[in-house]
C-alpha cells in the first residue's frame, strides 16, 4: 500500500537522486527529484511535500540558501540535509535554520529510515496508519489455547486480566505445558499487539553470545563483529520481550537486565549511544526460581522486578480432562497440514491417551498425534499408532514417583535414539536445552 506521503529529493548527482528515489519508492512514497535549487523551488509549487531532502553542496544555489527559500514557501515540510563528512559544521547551521536533521553520505539504511520516520512522526502522520495496518496480522497470528478444565479456565482468565496491564509477567510450568503459547496470547490481547513480540531463549544461547543477542553490539566490539547488530531488547520496542528459560540467565547479565528494567535504557556492546526501548517483559521458566535464589543462582532483586504477576501452567497429568479436546485440536491441525481427512480416536486409543503420564506435557501429546497422523492407516487413531511406554499399570521396580518414571523414560528413548540428543529431544517432545537440563538433573550419562 502506498503510504500517501510525498518526498522531494534535491541533489546534483544523478546516481544519488536515482538511488534515493528507488529507496523511497519501495517505501511507498510518491517521489519527485530536482537537480538544483531552482528546479527544486519550481517543484515546490506542485507540493506540499512531507519531506524535502537537500544536498548541502550543489553548484549554483547551495543547500542552506535553498532551505531558507523553501521555508518561505512551506513552513511545515520536514527538511533533511544530506552532507559529506567534511561539511558537518555547515549542517549544524542548517539545523539552526530549522532543518529537522542531517545525514552524512553514505548513510546507514537504518539511520536513513529512522530519520525519515522521526520526521514524519513529528508531522503526526504515522500512528494511525500503523495501527490500522497491523490489525490484519493480529487476526492471522494468534493461535487458540485449548482447555476447558477449571485450571485452564483460570489460566485464560489470568491472561485476559494481565493483558490489559503493562505489568511484568512470569509464566511457570513444566516443559511443554504451553508457556510460550501463553506469552504470545498475552501479547496478542494487549495494546502492544501492533508491535512485535520478540522471543529470546536464555537457556539455549551460549553465555558469550547471549549478551550480544539481548543488547546488540557495535562494529568491532569483539573479534569478528564486522557490523553493528541490533539486540532483541531494541527490537522489542513498542511490543513485548519474551525471555524464555529466564532461570538460565547468567548472574552477571542479571545485573545488566535489572538495570534495563529499571530505566528502559541501555547501550549496545562496545557502544556509547544510549538506546531507549519501551517494552513489556514476559518471562517463562520451568525451574524453581525461589530455590535458585537460595542457591545464589538468581538475584532476588531481579526476581521481584520480573515477578509482578505469576501464571502457573498445570502439567497435563493434572488436567486429564483436557486431553480429548487437545487431541482433537491436533488431529485437525495435522489433517489440514497434510491434506488428510480428520480422524476419530478409537475408545482403546482414548483410554491409552488418558492413562499416560505425559512427562513432555502438551508438546509430547502433539508429537504423538502428529506421528499417529503420519503412520496411521485406519480411519481412526488406534493404540498401535501411539508409541506410548504403556501407562501407569503395575508396580515399577525402582520407585514409581513421576521423577523416576520420567528418568526411565528418558533413558529408554535415549537408548532407542542411540544417544542422539536432537532426535531424543524430538521424540520426547521437549527442546534440546530442556533435555540437557534433565540429563544433568537425573545424572543420566549420555551414551
Amino acid at each position: 500500500m502506498k503510504n500517501g506521503k510525498k518526498i522531494l529529493i534535491v541533489d546534483d548527482e544523478l546516481s544519488v537522486r536515482n538511488s534515493l528515489r528507488e529507496w523511497f519508492l519501495e517505501d511507498g512514497f510518491a517521489v519527485e527529484t530536482a537537480e538544483d535549487g531552482n528546479a527544486a523551488l519550481q517543484r515546490m509549487h506542485s507540493g506540499p511535500y512531507d519531506i524535502v531532502i537537500i544536498d548541502l553542496k550543489m553548484p549554483g544555489m547551495d543547500g542552506i540558501t535553498l532551505e531558507r527559500r523553501i521555508r518561505e514557501i512551506d513552513k511545515d515540510a520536514a527538511i533533511i540535509i544530506l552532507t559529506a563528512f567534511a561539511s558537518v559544521e555547515t549542517a549544524v547551521e542548517a539545523l539552526k535554520l530549522g532543518a529537522f536533521d542531517y545525514i552524512t553520505k553514505p548513510v546507514d539504511p537504518d539511520e536513513l529510515s529512522n530519520t525519515v520516520r522521526n520526521a514524519l512522526k513529528q508531522r503526526h502522520l504515522e500512528a494511525e496508519n500503523l495501527r490500522l495496518k497491523a490489525k490484519v496480522s493480529e487476526l492471522t497470528l494468534a493461535s487458540p489455547i485449548i482447555g476447558d478444565s477449571s485450571r485452564m479456565r483460570r489460566v485464560l482468565d489470568l491472561i485476559s486480566t494481565v493483558a490489559g496491564t503493562d505489568a511484568n509477567v512470569v509464566i511457570r510450568g513444566e516443559s511443554g505445558t504451553g508457556k510460550e503459547l501463553v506469552a504470545r496470547a498475552i501479547h496478542s490481547q494487549s495494546e502492544r499487539r501492533f508491535f512485535p513480540i520478540v522471543a529470546v531463549n536464555c537457556g539455549s544461547i551460549p553465555e558469550t553470545l547471549l549478551e550480544s543477542e539481548l543488547f546488540g553490539h557495535e562494529k568491532g566490539s569483539f573479534t569478528g563483529a564486522q557490523y553493528r547488530r541490533k539486540g532483541k531488547i531494541e527490537l522489542a520496542h513498542g511490543g513485548t520481550l519474551f525471555l524464555d528459560e529466564i532461570g538460565d540467565i547468567p548472574t552477571k547479565m542479571q545485573v545488566d537486565l535489572l538495570r534495563v528494567l529499571e530505566t528502559r535504557r541501555f547501550h549496545r556492546l562496545g557502544g556509547n549511544q544510549e538506546i531507549t526501548s519501551d517494552f513489556r517483559l514476559v518471562c517463562a521458566t520451568n525451574r524453581d526460581l525461589e530455590a535458585l535464589i537460595e542457591d545464589g543462582g538468581f538475584r532476588e532483586d531481579l526476581y521481584y522486578r520480573i515477578n509482578v504477576f505469576v501464571i502457573d501452567l498445570p502439567p497435563l497429568r493434572d488436567r486429564p480432562e483436557d486431553i480429548p479436546a487437545l487431541t482433537g485440536h491436533f488431529i485437525e491441525k495435522y489433517a489440514r497440514a497434510m491434506g488428510k481427512p480428520v480422524k476419530d480416536v478409537s475408545p482403546a486409543a482414548e483410554g491409552l491417551l488418558a492413562s499416560y503420564a505425559w512427562p513432555g506435557n502438551v508438546r509430547e501429546l502433539e508429537n504423538a498425534v502428529e506421528r499417529a497422523m503420519v503412520i496411521g492407516r485406519e480411519a481412526s487413531v488406534e493404540p498401535d499408532d501411539l508409541p506410548l511406554p504403556l501407562a501407569r499399570t503395575g508396580t515399577e521396580p525402582e520407585g514409581s514417583s513421576l521423577a523416576a518414571l520420567e528418568r526411565r523414560h528418558i533413558e529408554r528413548v535415549l537408548r532407542e535414539e542411540k544417544g542422539n540428543i536432537t532426535r531424543a529431544a524430538a521424540a520426547l517432545g521437549i527442546d534440546r536445552g530442556t533435555l540437557y537440563n534433565k540429563l544433568r538433573r537425573y545424572g543420566i550419562e549420555r551414551l
Binding site: 519501495e26 539504511p109 496480522s137
Partner: protein, 184 residues
Amino acid sequence: MTSRIDLCFINGYAPSWAGRVAEESARVLGRPVVSVDLEMDLPRYYSADRGQYNATLILAGLLRFRSDPHSKIVGITRVDLFIPVLTFVFGQAQLDGPGSLVSTHRLRNEYYGLPKDHERLVDRTIKEVVHEVGHSFGLVHCQDYNCVMHAATYVEDVDLKSASFCPSCESLLQENGMRPRATA
C-alpha cells in the same frame, strides 16, 4: 498469465541449498521459480572506493539475461552490495519492473562475528528473494512486522518477519501479477 521467475546464481555461486530457495519462494509466490547459473562481468561493477559492488549497475546488467519478456529475473550473489547514498543494501529491485538482486554477504551470521548458522542463512535468503520479487511485482514496504514486505535494515529485522505475505500484500500481489504489462 503466470510469469516465471529465473533465480540466477551469479558467477559460480552454487550453494547446496539453491534448490530449497527456489522451491520455497515458488511456494510463497505461487509461481514457478527456476534456479540457473549465470556468468556476468562482476568486476566491472566493483567500486574500489567503497570496496563493494554497485547494486544498481549489476541490476541493469542482469536484465540482459532475461529469458523472455514476461519473466522476472532475480540475481543472487555473495558480494557485498551498495547504492551510492547507502552504506550497503541486502538487495535491490526495480519497483514494478522485471529485475531484482539479493546479496547473501550480510545474511551470514559470520559477518556479525556469530557462529555459522546454515538454516538461518537459507531462511534469510528465502525472505530476501521473496521480498525483492514482491517489489518487482509493485509491492512497497508493509507496516505489518510479520509480513515479508516489512522493511529490514538489520539482519535481525529479517529474522523477525515471516517468509509470507500478509493478506493485503497477498491480494495486491495477485492483482499485480495477473495484470498483463507492456514491457520496456
